[in-house]
Symmetry: C2
DNA sequence: CGTTCCATTGAGATGTGTCAATTCAAGTGG
DNA sequence: CCACTTGAATTGACACATCTCAATGGAACG
């Protein structure tokens, strides 16, 4: 799951990726998940032409920070990002994790200012999509417009899902739901639904789920004892996915 | 704040509203908040032509239900709605309250299916905006497209605000934040920022904020004792708005 | 090999939930 | 107009899940 890094010795790292990271949308293995979804191939080329691919973002570097001028949304090609806000009293609130094929940055549209910060949890490759170009292209390509509306709406429903989770569910249920969400997103990318490496720390998980690190850790231990999970630091194996669903649904 | 109802004696009620509810966008006193924002007057007329105005929705009736086919978004002209989801185990989760000038129904775009239900908390007048027409018009009017993107993005940031609230804040802080949010939304509509009637029940407030009714009630009592609020059932008066902000920020 | 950060585990404190009783408000029918 | 009913809101006592504080263990990294 993790991306092999080649240390070039001069401080800059290169990512050895199985696919060229200048790959075009038409050839990208994520194009059935990502923005090109539902576009005709000639349309994909047009989309392709506005997308900027830059060198990978190293772990713990920011893609943008809260308050930065909003210019682009970003498609994750590899790696993982977290989005978070800093509250008035200086604490951090993680609002989402973004995996390959997902779009990050849409919360900046409303005010032309990023409402949250985005940080790489591991070295990540991104496609930058300048929003002005996307808007222009959307007026010409109704299916792109529609698809982008849908992506934003999906972000809304995902947030509402999280709201429900935070509002109604116990610690066990929350952790179970996150694991199942990651599992589902992995299988959409043809990766294992039952064994994966968590790209985020326990602190981030707790923060995202409204729990303390200690509680997250205890939940993992409990689930391991119940033989629902096998946990080895960040490596997770789901031993009993139905059991996990049972925990997530009612507890 | 509540809408006077004229009982016509035949079972159907008419709403006596200060403004004609067939009013066009161009004349609507909410047009500086609502969808027409940032449109030129000739554009507003075009938008106007796709909007359907129907008779008011009576209290506790549904605008749409979770799972219904998505066809339109709705602008609230008067009254208040709540949006809620029903969880797998049958409980309800309130995901938002919608006041005049706000748009409800955007979570249905992603799957062509409403992801939540919307119910009138009091008799409410609505403008129905068929989404297919809105999409068509958006390709012709870039400023409309942009504005709708912004409205969706605003919904995302609002949801993220709620996520933070649920994840990090105490009962007092949550209630304070909701009251301040209502206060702000009132003043945008040129209504009192300090005295208003809550359109929703304590149960709905608790549900929305991830608290029990009892806790909400105790918070109100506590704040009354601290002379921050004056509470008379649903009538709220904010006596010390700075104090309330203090509670919302750090407690 | 030490330093640092992250994760785990335990013991005790606490805010909020649960359960139950009471009051209050609004409507209904006699 | 007054009992009666019903649902909403308040208040109290107690329980419990999660947080807080503290110590330890383990992994990653220079």
């Amino acid at each position: 799951m993790s991306i092999p890094i080649i240390n070039t010795g001069d401080g800059s790292n290169l990512v050895a990726c199985t696919h060229d990271y200048q790959v075009k949308c038409g050839n990208c293995r994520l194009n059935s998940l990502c923005l090109p979804l539902a576009l005709e191939s000639e349309d994909i080329e047009q989309l392709d032409s506005i997308i900027q691919r830059s060198k990978p973002l190293q772990k713990s570097n920011h893609l943008y920070r809260e308050g930065d001028e909003f210019q682009s949304v970003f498609a994750v090609r590899s790696g993982t990002l977290k989005a978070y806000k800093t509250t008035d009293d200086g604490r951090e609130q993680v609002t989402g994790f973004y995996f390959p094929g997902e779009i990050v940055g849409m919360d900046g549209i409303s005010n032309n200012t990023h409402a949250s910060s985005a940080k790489a949890l591991e070295t990540s490759a991104l496609c930058e999509i300048p929003f002005a170009s996307l808007e222009r292209l959307s007026t010409l390509m109704p299916s792109l417009q529609r698809h982008f509306f849908q992506l934003m709406s999906r972000e809304i429903t995902a947030d509402q899902q999280l709201i429900t989770l935070l509002s109604k569910n116990s610690a066990d249920e929350r952790v179970a739901a996150l694991l199942l969400s990651i599992s589902t997103r992995n299988s959409r990318r043809k990766l294992s639904a039952t064994a994966f490496r968590l790209p985020m720390s326990r602190v981030d998980i707790g923060n995202y789920l409204g729990l303390t690190v200690e509680t997250v850790s205890r939940v993992f231990s409990r689930m391991q004892k119940m033989e629902v999970l096998h946990v080895d630091n960040k490596e997770i194996e789901i031993l009993d996915i139905e059991g996990l669903r049972g925990v997530a649904d009612i507890g």
